[in-house]
């Protein structure tokens, strides 16, 4: 698997906001069927980095390759056309529109006359939800009236429905209870089995160790390094997150300081 051409390769990405380098010369790659965890403290630049892949943020410089081909992603439409789906931390749901409407937002099904095919969209939504969250039944009410977990289900259903090749999940379990979190984990494993490449942003170090194949750590806009999950301990990853030192650079006393 390691020899395969990466599904995604982001090389030397740079994003700055008014002189502040949110992302500075970061390069990461993602292989088919791999879960890459992207971790780091608040403001480390994780979300900004993946936004350049999902089309929500234009990079100042850097090149993105999909299966070795250089591509330009100017907006979310471009990203979706390449099979890149994103579950945003904010969920990005229109509160006043129902679940099927949100799932198909910007990609509505239409009848032959170009009218919205609401029944068709609802039927498709029911089909996806039956797999993700069988208890979900509120297909007619605006998502504003749904619980946090249900809203998250809608956001996940949207990403799953369109047969993504690459899935970006920004804190996908943040609003979920334990049972729903387990459901999402199951789903992530299942998608991995199907060969989808997943970039997982998470604050939960246990989540990260449980799910990921490799871990990329960011600190203050820079990439500290990318390590294989099996090669490191949790403390070593914490050292990367907090003091920005790779396992080979960090000293025993520094590790002990962190754990105390």
């Amino acid at each position: 698997m390691n020899d395969a051409t990466p599904l995604v390769e982001m090389r030397d990405m740079n994003v700055s906001f008014g002189g502040v380098h949110a992302v500075e010369n970061v390069s990461i790659d993602l292989r088919p069927g791999e879960i890459l965890a992207l971790v780091g403290g608040n403001g480390a630049g994780k979300s900004t980095l993946v936004k350049t892949l999902s089309g929500a943020q234009r990079p100042d410089s850097g090149q993105i390759y999909l299966e070795g081909e250089p591509v330009t992603i100017d907006n979310p439409r471009d990203a979706k056309a390449y099979g890149i789906e994103t579950i945003y931390q904010t969920l990005a749901l229109a509160e006043n529109i129902d679940a099927p409407g949100n799932m198909f937002l910007g990609r509505e099904l239409t009848t032959s006359l170009g009218n919205l095919d609401d029944s068709g969209m609802e039927a498709a939504a029911r089909k996806v939800m039956a797999r993700l969250n069988p208890k979900f039944q509120n297909f007619k009410t605006p998502v504003a009236s749904l619980s946090g977990g249900q809203r998250q289900s809608v956001a996940i259903a949207r990403a799953v429905h369109f047969n993504a090749r690459i899935l970006i999940m920004d804190e996908p379990t943040a609003a979920l209870g334990p049972a729903e979190t387990e459901q999402v984990r199951q789903l992530i494993r299942q998608l991995k089995q199907e060969g989808i490449g997943i970039i997982l942003i998470s604050h939960d170090i246990h989540d990260v160790f449980d799910m990921s194949d490799r871990i990329s750590v960011m600190l203050q806009g820079r990439l500290v390094g990318t390590v294989k999950r099996d090669d490191v301990t949790m403390d070593e990853v914490l050292a990367m997150i907090i003091i920005g030192k790779l396992p080979s650079e960090v000293s025993q006393s520094e590790l002990e300081d962190l754990t105390n």
């Binding site: 999902s54 979310p76 990005a92 937002l105 910007g106 919205l116």
Partner: protein
Amino acid sequence: MSVTEAPTTETELNEDPPPRRSFKEAVRSAEIDTRMVGMLTLLILIWIGFHFMSGGTFLTPRNLWNLSVQFAPVAIMATGMVLIIVSRNIDLSVGSMLGLVGMAMAILQAEILPDLLGFGHPALWIIVLLAGLAMGALVGMFQGFIVAYVGVPSFIVTLGGLLVWRGVAWSLASGRTVAPMDSTFQLLGGGSDGSLGGTGSWIVAALACLSIVALLIYDRRQRRRYGFRLRPLWAVIALGTVGCLAVIGAVWVMNSYYLPENLARQVAEAQGIAWPEGGLRIPLGISYPVLIALGVMLIMGFVATRRRFGRYVYSIGGNPEAAELGGINTRWTIVKTFMVMGILVGVAGAVTIARLNAATSGLGTLAELYVIAAAVIGGTSLAGGLGTIPGAVLGALVMQSLQSGMVLMRVDAPLQDIVVGVVLVAAVAVDVYYRKRAEA
């Protein structure tokens, strides 16, 4: 403590049967829009109130017919204002735009085109109308562009427009009143000739009833096809019956307003009919402005709920960021809402100058207030994301009823303005109250 108490509360909740469940359930299963029902009730109360306060002159065919003609321009523009407000913008310039586009159409047909095509040319009215719509679209697009691409808040852009377009309209005619309008063009404004007449109106009523029935059947078929929950049959039959009765009632009222005697005599003479003993009763029926307003309502309602453009407008109002991330071209969508508004201002302007048979420099003054009030009373939330086209049309009917009723009661113009202002603020206050309650 809280741990031991929690189960008790839960069982209590489970054992307590929800009060008055059957009625609420019935309303929900029938999928009746309670807000619309509330507005209809308000309208009926206003009508009955004015009828008594005006000494029985309000609920007469004559007054209701006139009311329907006057309500048309406000209703036409209110449908566009819904899309503007839903997408979190506002258009304060519609009154001045109506003045400008109306004046331009008047000058075109009274002063420019007769010299080129000859007076009373049969194509004159349509050229003027299309020019008016194009001009409205252009002005709207210009304002929308500044809002969406330059990033100036719509409140400021259209506040500027309110002054600018009024000024341009004035300078077009140097403050003159331009008249008369082309005779075919005048039909757009209603009047004795600009109506469908008795038979035509009944045909429209029949078509409307058939469409209501067809839509209900189609909806039921769609639901069955996808295996969704069906509305109870009683609800479908009730909706159909009420809808058809409302249509028939409205047309009956319109058909109960007859041509004034002197005009009826002219018709009799022209057609060589002998003047009968009891007088000739020629029903006016549905006027063209009302027909236009209803057509606009149907098209706009369709666009708002059944087309991508409408869905995008609502999603921008609900969450602009989500719309953007969904891949929607939000800026262009905003420009389009202002263009649609401009076109509708063109339609309303044509109806208005056709009815007045002239364009004055004050044409459309304060129309923005009536239009915004109609949209807001009709359930459009100024916070964006919420609002319906039929609601706004109903809101326009409420606003026009208030005005018309006050005229019947001989209320002074300044007091009329005070009432309109108070109603506008009160409507928004009610909206804010309901939204706060919905959030809690």
